[in-house]
């Protein structure tokens, strides 16, 4: 009898996703400090131990949210097309920064909290690879003779710095556009 086993597995997968979505919603609504295992359990209408039958711990839940967030960022950047007279680089930068500004909790889980998503030689989640790939594609046209991957890392660093310092109110809120233009024209090269 496979059907019963199948139904169980399907229900389990649905609940798995339910937990991830609940954590994400809670974080986006009230910040990560409001995401406790008790509140999360209440939100999904199960008791706390159920969370631990799906994830090794709270960190694993945050990590799952972060990885799905990477997928969304990749999707948003792929969809972003330059408007009239706009470089692809600028369109990508704007999409990235808009994502960081509109989903600060999600962005935090992805790149600020050190959730130890495998980044190095290990198996990197596909969602992350996709997001970085979009950045590479945007940088490509302006790389010239410069090393593409290295230049993309610089571009990403600049975006990440602007995103996090802006979120921490460390930069003048007006001047946002001027900063972006200055950064882009610098990277555009000679």
């Amino acid at each position: 009898m496979v059907t019963i086993q199948n139904r169980r597995e399907r229900e389990r997968a649905e609940r798995h996703q339910l937990i991830i979505d609940a954590a994400r919603e809670l974080a986006e609504a009230e910040g990560w400090e409001a995401v406790t295992t008790r509140r999360l359990a209440e939100k999904v209408e199960y008791s706390q131990p159920v969370l631990y039958s799906h994830f090794k711990g709270k960190d694993a839940i945050v990590r799952a949210v972060a990885i799905q967030g990477c997928g969304e960022l990749a999707r948003l950047m792929r969809k972003a097309r330059p408007e009239q007279g706009e470089s692809r680089l600028k369109a990508a930068a704007e999409a990235y920064l808009e994502f960081a500004a509109k989903r600060p909790a999600l962005y935090d889980a992805m790149f600020v909290q050190q959730v130890d998503i495998p980044f190095g030689t290990d198996e990197v989640p596909q969602e992350l690879r996709d997001a970085f790939g979009e950045l590479v594609a945007a940088v490509g046209p302006v790389a010239g003779e410069r090393d593409l991957e290295t230049l993309t890392e610089v571009f990403w660093s600049s975006l990440h710095g602007i995103a996090t310092l802006t979120h921490g109110h460390r930069l003048r809120p007006d001047h946002h556009e001027a900063r972006l233009d200055l950064m882009l024209s610098a990277l555009q090269g000679p």
Copy 2:
């Protein structure tokens, strides 16, 4: 009688600094998650409530550590002088990134954790002003016709992005120098 009052105030100020130093040492040795009020109280050999007679809460202690960290960063950057054939911009960038790499916990308190140090119109701590001033001074020679303060914010953002992404193992550890050179030559302008 002022002498007794004076002695008390002096002892109090010493203990104030003792707490800050202990918090900083604990954070640098084991990370901020290891800095609990209990461990901190044990380290300074007082009970927990004593901490609360000096600081409003744990956040205030972290904030104090962060502000002193800003002073140290400013001092390090002021001391950094370009070597033979090196631009002042590069010397400043290297000093900044070396600080971030060698004192990751301190850097975290200063710029990553949102400790709500007044940044905007409020009274900004002098240490912070000094640190930003050093960045401005380093950017000055290469600004050209570009707005100095805005360009400095871009420079800072790039440095901050590189520092945090490197610390989170998001960038290839080798290639560090190549990234820095690429970033600097981009900012150097045409």
